[in-house]
């Protein structure tokens, strides 16, 4: 049995799908052996069919099933039982969310610390709005007072520095001796640093100037 090109083309899909009888298959392949154009066509279509079979089905949108169920069964009740209440728990394990929560927790710690609340010594009455406000108010005032004290200290140091500027070689000792009440001398403001390069005046003169200056400075506020 010999098939022509038309017959071969007509039965091509049945050949690909393995639906030809043995005799038909023999006739088919013997034609292919003699006809390059049919052989090429078979190769082309077979490849296409195999590719289509291997093709993965497109994914339906996730909400589609729910939409269909709503349309058929009507709006359904949400899942009953405890599962529903804890359904959000796995989401907490996501790194991005966990990092966000850690940041929020850290902010709370900072805020609580500023408000003067320590978890160890926390009492029930500490949680009332009035005591939180009082504690926060106290902290703010304390911080403000510390700031004022610091600024005043700085001012003293700067004034001493500016008075000493024309001095030749003032030593560090006379500066510290008459100001024992200064608790927070600012770092890097040691007069020695700037005045080292200017030679000239005597130590006695420095003492006089400092005494005069300290007399003017009001320490009552800063030492509170």
């Amino acid at each position: 049995m010999n098939w022509n090109c038309t017959q071969t083309e007509e039965r091509l899909s049945e050949y690909i799908d393995g639906r030809l009888s043995q005799m038909e298959q023999a006739a088919f392949t013997s034609h292919l052996a003699t006809c390059p154009s049919c052989a090429q066509l078979v190769t082309q279509v077979s490849a296409l069919v195999h590719r289509m079979h291997a093709l993965e089905a497109v994914q339906a949108p996730e909400y589609l099933s729910a939409k269909i169920l709503d349309a058929t069964l009507g709006p359904r009740k949400p899942k009953a039982g405890w599962d529903k209440w804890f359904a959000w728990l796995p989401n907490l394990m996501q790194p991005r969310f966990a990092m966000g929560m850690a940041t929020v927790a850290a902010s709370f710690v900072i805020v609580l610390h500023t408000a003067g609340i320590t978890p160890n010594k926390l009492r029930k009455q500490d949680l009332s709005p009035a005591s939180i406000f009082r504690a926060a108010n106290r902290e703010v005032h304390l911080t403000y007072a510390k700031g004022v004290k610091f600024v005043n200290d700085l001012r003293v140091v700067y004034e001493i520095q500016s008075r000493l500027q024309p001095e030749p070689q003032p030593s560090a000792a006379p500066v510290h001796e008459p100001a024992p009440k200064e608790q927070n001398p600012a770092p890097g403001t040691n007069p020695q640093e700037k005045s080292q390069s200017q030679p000239g005046h005597s130590q006695i003169h420095t003492h006089e100037m400092l005494a005069c200056l300290l007399a003017q400075t009001d320490f009552t506020e800063t030492s509170r």
Partner: protein
């Protein structure tokens, strides 16, 4: 796991979860068929919903003797797609005498990026464009056989045509699609 036939029996007794399972099991198949046929994900979603509404209403008419539940579902889907095709062609005919195919192609560009949604590969997209150029009869035969994996006799049941017609449509569809893809510059 319960079989589809068992689930259908439960559904007919008014068992909601059985219907839920049936829907979840087959949504992808129905959506695929609709998407391959319309080449538009939004339209495919609407049609899938319509299919399941129809199935829900006519579930009592399903007989296991008809063939597997998927085959029955495929025929319901296919009938709805044919209705949809006729409807949209009629609508189109009132505007102009253009064929259905250009309509499908135009719609694709305005649709919600089906590629993204479907994670379609280059081949899938090429194929989709090629399929859109086939005549509806040949297109559905190729989709049912090669993308839905139905056997010849199942396709015969779905399309309600003689076996010879099924064979001929599958064959002509494949040959035509291969030529179209070649013309589009598609190489293996």
């Amino acid at each position: 796991m319960e079989s589809d036939a068992q689930l259908v029996v439960h559904c007919l007794r008014g068992d909601g979860p059985a219907w839920e399972e049936l829907v979840r099991r087959h949504t992808r198949r129905v959506f695929n068929l609709c998407y391959r046929f319309t080449n538009n994900s939004t339209e495919a979603e609407d049609l899938s919903q319509e299919v399941f509404l129809r199935v829900y209403r006519t579930l009592s008419s399903y007989r296991p003797a008809f063939g597997g539940f998927p085959t029955w579902l495929t025929s319901v889907t296919r009938n709805l797609l044919v209705d949809h095709y006729r409807r949209s062609r009629r609508e189109r005919m009132t505007d102009s005498i253009e064929d259905m195919m250009p309509v499908i192609e135009e719609k694709q560009s305005s649709a919600r990026t089906p590629e993204k949604l479907a994670h379609a590969s280059e081949l899938s997209q090429q194929l989709q464009r090629g399929l859109a150029k086939l005549s509806p009869d040949l297109r559905e035969a190729v989709i049912l056989r090669d993308l839905q994996g139905l056997e010849y006799n199942e396709i015969q049941t779905v399309l309600q045509v003689p076996e010879g017609t099924v064979k001929s449509r599958i064959n002509r569809g494949r040959l035509e699609l291969a030529r179209i893809l070649e013309g589009m510059g598609f190489r293996e």
